[in-house]
């Protein structure tokens, strides 16, 4: 049994989204506010983990909703709203990441050397969170986004494929490679700890 099958989707059914979209297109701004509040937490979470910067993450989330706001009039009825919205978010995150890279190296609050002094992963959940967050940042953008979508957003391989604009096989392969890369990064830290 796969993880996707084991963990039910927490994203609300698309029918609810479709209703809100129809209402928004009919002129009800409140419907868009409902959509916004429904997805802002998830989008912000993805952006935080991808960009590792609270301010940038909030900015990207707002930009994503701006694109959604202007793009909803051209949104195809019957399409999956949340994969469409995630696709916009992924694109925005990628663009922002490139812009940040052009500005110069990203300053991180915790270096990998400091991590070695932290308690063992199993001891402190906060240390776990810092460790995984810092390690994720060392992954390539594509691998990082794949892991975020798979484990944090719990999207199925089909949904990941749709969001990342690839086929299901490629999405699975990306996930495997990302996990391998993550394991390779984490393993030395644990070995040092032991």
């Amino acid at each position: 049994m796969t993880n996707e099958a084991a963990m039910p989707l927490t994203i609300s059914p698309d029918s609810e989204d479709q209703t809100l979209i129809v209402q928004f297109l009919a002129g009800e701004e409140r419907a868009f506010a409902a959509l916004f509040r429904k997805y802002q937490g998830r989008f912000l979470c993805v952006a935080r983990r991808f960009l590792n910067d609270e301010g940038e993450a909030e900015d990207v989330t707002q930009e994503t909703f701006l694109d959604i706001y202007y793009g909803l009039r051209g949104f195809r009825r019957g399409s999956s709203f949340h994969t469409w919205a995630y696709r916009i978010l992924v694109r925005k995150c990628g663009e922002r990441r490139k812009r940040i890279a052009r500005r110069g190296p990203v300053s991180t609050s915790i270096s990998m050397e400091n991590l070695r002094d932290l308690p063992a992963p199993e001891d402190l959940p906060i240390a776990d969170s810092l460790l995984i967050q810092e390690t994720l940042q060392r992954l390539p953008d594509e691998a990082r986004m794949t892991l975020i979508l798979k484990y944090y957003e719990q999207l199925s391989s089909e949904e990941i494929a749709e969001v990342l604009n690839c086929n299901v096989g490629q999405a699975k392969m990306r996930a495997h490679r990302a996990k391998n890369a993550l394991k390779d990064l984490l393993k030395p830290l644990w070995e040092n700890k032991e």
């Binding site: 993880n3 707002q62 909703f65 959940p125 776990d128 944090y152 495997h176 993550l182």
Partner: protein, 530 residues
């Protein structure tokens, strides 16, 4: 299953994506291999870390909607102040749009250039000329079936091309000096034979053959193109009757087609020439009639529009005594092969030079039908251009040749005749005849005297080149884009001594004005000439 395969299978194993058989093999290996088992543990820990972090309470999410609304209002305001421009009109979006605009502008400019450029007008000249020829030649309607565009050389290639052609391209073989006349030839009347070749056209080769006295002659040769898929076009030109009249004909066909041209030499009683062209072989045969009336050189010039080489050149010469042509009187030149003729390295397919393809022509075409109507059918603007070119030409002519030609030609007259507004009813005939007659009066000792000014409009096939047309004839000479001007003074005495001088200019009309190339200046004079 070994340690090489395991790392790639660990993640699918954890996700349950392996088949039962493969999963069993992986687990069997993991049971026996501590290294791979450690890798699996590390992978499980990493995934567990991810899942734990995902399940952990997240940071509180601020309500971004108020900020979003503020941003929405700001952006809408900016859109209004941008006077309708899209909010996406940022540099990142402007660049591709700008590129599209530039490409569009280039396309439009290119279209306009081809529409109004001299090249396009040259094509119009060509069609006009062909149309007028067709209308005025009842015996032989000529149609332009196809106009093909060839690449024109740029300035540097142009200079190189003509320098090669004029100065280095000829190779003469004087048969009378190298070998006695063949059996059946006239030993008392030695033959001067010259075979010349050169680059008369970009991407093409000219072959010219001249014989001294033989009345009956036949030239055979094979022309082997370098590119067997490239169709060969011929242009053939030959003369008769003491060089007083030149006939020209254009024959174009593919590799397998055949064409035959018969032109009656109306200015002599020597019969007719028959020209056979077919399948890469060409020949000129003259027969029938009292040969003893012919004593002027005969010539054949052929142009090929492609690279190639010449093989099996044969000349059949015969005496003037009316003996029949026989195969065994051929003079073969196997020991003197012509060098490989390579055209200048001019890439093909760049348009400009026009070639026109004519259907098979089997009826005589009097020369007067070829050239006269051209001037009359020109528009006022076209005539103006011609006059302008002649004026430029005359000025250069005077500057270069004033001293040399002072006794021969009143070059001011060249200027004068370019002002037809002073001469109502001027035609292409009376221009040159008037000059000729004037100078005959001034130089009564000359037996013949001619001034040939031959100008051509830009265009046309890499087939024709200059011909020293005599008085009263115009030649619509399609060689290269631009205005091709040839002036030629050819004077002779009764004893055969002659004086020749000529200048060849090439004028290319550019958007910024005319550009003049001088690529030929030829001067030969016998001691007895003035």
């Amino acid at each position: 299953m070994n340690c090489k395969h395991i790392p790639n299978l660990l993640s699918p194993l954890l996700d349950g994506e392996l088949s039962d058989n493969t999963a069993a093999q992986v687990r069997a290996h993991l049971d026996t291999c501590l290294v791979c088992a450690a890798e699996l543990t590390a992978m499980q820990n990493a995934v567990a870390l991810l899942q734990t972090d995902a399940a952990a309470p997240q940071l509180p999410t601020p309500d971004l909607y108020a900020a979003f609304q503020q941003r929405l209002v700001t952006q809408s305001t900016q859109t209004v102040f941008r006077s309708g421009r899209s909010r996406r009109a940022s540099p990142a979006w402007l660049l591709p749009r700008l590129a599209v605009c530039v490409v569009g502008a280039v396309c439009v400019g290119n279209t306009l250039w081809h529409k109004f450029s001299p090249y396009n007008r040259a094509e119009r000249y060509l069609l006009t000329a062909a149309s007028s020829l067709s209308q005025n030649s009842a015996a032989s309607p000529m149609h332009v079936n196809e106009i093909r565009r060839y690449r024109a050389p740029n300035g540097r290639e142009f200079t190189r091309f003509f320098n090669t052609w004029w100065h280095n391209g000829y190779a003469y073989t004087r048969a009378s000096e190298q070998k006695p006349p063949a059996a059946g030839g006239d030993a008392a009347n030695p033959v001067d034979f010259a075979l010349s070749y050169g680059y008369s056209t970009p991407g093409g080769v000219m072959l010219s053959w001249n014989a001294g006295n033989p009345a009956n002659n036949l030239v055979r040769f094979d022309w082997v193109p370098s590119d067997p898929l490239h169709p060969i076009n011929y242009a053939v030109q030959y003369n008769a009757d003491r060089c007083a009249s030149w006939f020209q004909q254009i024959v174009a066909h593919g590799k397998t087609a055949q064409a035959q041209v018969k032109v009656r030499d109306t200015s002599s009683n020597s019969g007719q020439y028959t020209l056979h062209i077919g399948d890469l072989k060409a020949g000129l045969k003259r027969s029938d009639g009292p040969e003893d009336t012919i004593d002027a050189p005969d010539a054949l010039t052929m142009w090929f529009n492609g690279e190639g080489s010449l093989h099996h050149f044969q000349e059949l010469r015969h005496s003037e005594r009316g003996e029949p042509l026989r195969e065994d009187t051929f003079v073969d030149y196997p020991a003197q092969p012509l060098p490989q003729i390579a055209a200048p390295n001019v890439p093909r397919n760049r348009p400009v030079v026009l070639a026109y393809k004519l259907p098979r022509i089997t009826t005589p075409v009097p020369s007067e039908h070829l050239v006269k109507p051209v001037w009359l059918t020109m528009t006022a603007e076209e005539k103006k251009e011609v006059r302008h070119a002649i004026k430029i030409f005359a000025e250069i002519w005077r500057a270069h040749n004033a001293a040399r030609l002072r006794n021969l030609v009143d070059t001011d007259r060249l200027l004068e005749i370019t002002r037809p507004d002073k001469r109502a009813g001027l035609t292409s005939d009376n221009i040159w005849q008037r000059v000729w007659l004037d100078h005959l009066r001034q130089q009564p000792q000359w037996q013949y005297f001619a001034i040939n000014v031959d100008f051509a409009f830009e265009a046309a096939p890499p087939l024709l080149d200059e011909v020293p047309f005599n008085v009263g004839e115009w030649n619509l000479d399609h060689t290269l884009p631009g205005l091709n001007v040839l002036a030629w003074v050819n004077a002779g005495l009764a004893d055969g001594q002659e004086y020749k001088t000529g200048i060849r200019l090439y004028l290319v009309k550019r958007p910024t004005g005319w550009k003049v190339y001088q690529f030929g200046l030829m001067h030969t004079a016998d001691a007895s000439t003035p």
